[in-house]
Subunit: 226 residues, 2 copies
Amino acid sequence: MKYSEFLKLIPDSKIDICRAAFLEHKDKIQIKKEAVVIKNLEKIFDATLKIGVSKGFQAMTMRDLSAGSGLSMGALYSYFSSKDEILSVYLGQGRKIVKQVLEAFLVKENDPVAKLETVIQIHLFLTEKMHQWFYFSYMEAKNLNPEEMEKSIQSELYTEKLVSDILIEGYKKNIFKDGDHVLGASVIKAMLQDWYLKRGKYARRKIGVDHYAQFIMAFVSAFYLV
Amino acid sequence: MKYSEFLKLIPDSKIDICRAAFLEHKDKIQIKKEAVVIKNLEKIFDATLKIGVSKGFQAMTMRDLSAGSGLSMGALYSYFSSKDEILSVYLGQGRKIVKQVLEAFLVKENDPVAKLETVIQIHLFLTEKMHQWFYFSYMEAKNLNPEEMEKSIQSELYTEKLVSDILIEGYKKNIFKDGDHVLGASVIKAMLQDWYLKRGKYARRKIGVDHYAQFIMAFVSAFYLV
DNA sequence: TAAAATAGAACAAATGCTCGTTATTTCTTG
DNA sequence: CAAGAAATAACGAGCATTTGTTCTATTTTA
């Protein structure tokens, strides 16, 4: 699959995140009308991402966010009860989308090689589409409270397990070589993460996501295909 | 080479960093006696690393640092003129050590395969020994001023170039396959970085640095060896 | 005892958050 | 369908606290 095809197949993640955040936090948000909430959550999350990526969440002040989102301090606090809550909710909702999309695409495949290619591609495509969110999530996870941080770690391990399960299945079907598949998955994950952690570098070198996906698949295949 | 052997071959990086920092900033540091400076720089850097890794440099206050290092606020400011300067100096000195050690080991090798193995091993061993420094450096680089940030990026690209040069040399000698060696080096770098970015995960799984180095070498060899 | 090093109170600026007020939208009623 | 009333949303100055930094007083060292 090409990235361009992928884009056509998935809904707009931005609005999804805002709608889901509203539904899940309806009781905490002091604003009642859905349309208003979604419109402003989008402003808040957009500004959080923009400022957060450029100077870090800790360094972002509520005044920065107010200026960036176009909402007053007071308005911000009628959507979220604290600065930290913005981070928690935003990262939490993003994680859900990631899980949903990955599973939706993986369920279509049966062959281990196709599954491996799919998980590599879709992970890269997702991180391409939401690259700022991923970068932000990676860099700011340590600023979350312990339980939210745990969720973040679990989310990482979940993706890794998707990969290691595929490797193990492939080995059992005599398609992949034997080996430490957990460590293998870990290393593959590292390569996938590099795509959004070093976005600027790859852009400067004019390496696109389709090319990167194909390269990673070749790299991994060389080691695992029998 | 094993990590245990590596450790015997290199001097204590902690004291090296402090001594180098003193020599280079003698004029800026208001304290005159070298022994005093080095003793206290070590306390300051240790505390910076400890607090910085756990809560991030931005969130670390000078009072945290004062408590953590056992020095008063006044004392801290007779070693550094600002909080940011601590970060700049510490990261800068660390980068120097990394460069020195990598080059010292690489110069001993001639064969591309041996060079590749060396750069993988030494990079991993260095990041094992200084893993907190590397993690801290990676996470806080974006909080540096533009010129220091540029140095940080250059330092990353330098390591990558070490790898890509080896791959290209190996290709010219018909030992390695053809391909996009810059992209290859980039991906190898990502795997190397994972070692210190996910230190906790590997520790929990009881995977040691020697085993990880051997795995990465096998992974890379499968793709590159003709 | 003079120089060097450290201490920690004091200061201005900045920060997260609150709360009384104002503006806007929606509903009610003659 | 007005126009007043009620509900909802947005505003932003102000509060207590915390922050990086400075400065003078004190202690330590040689």
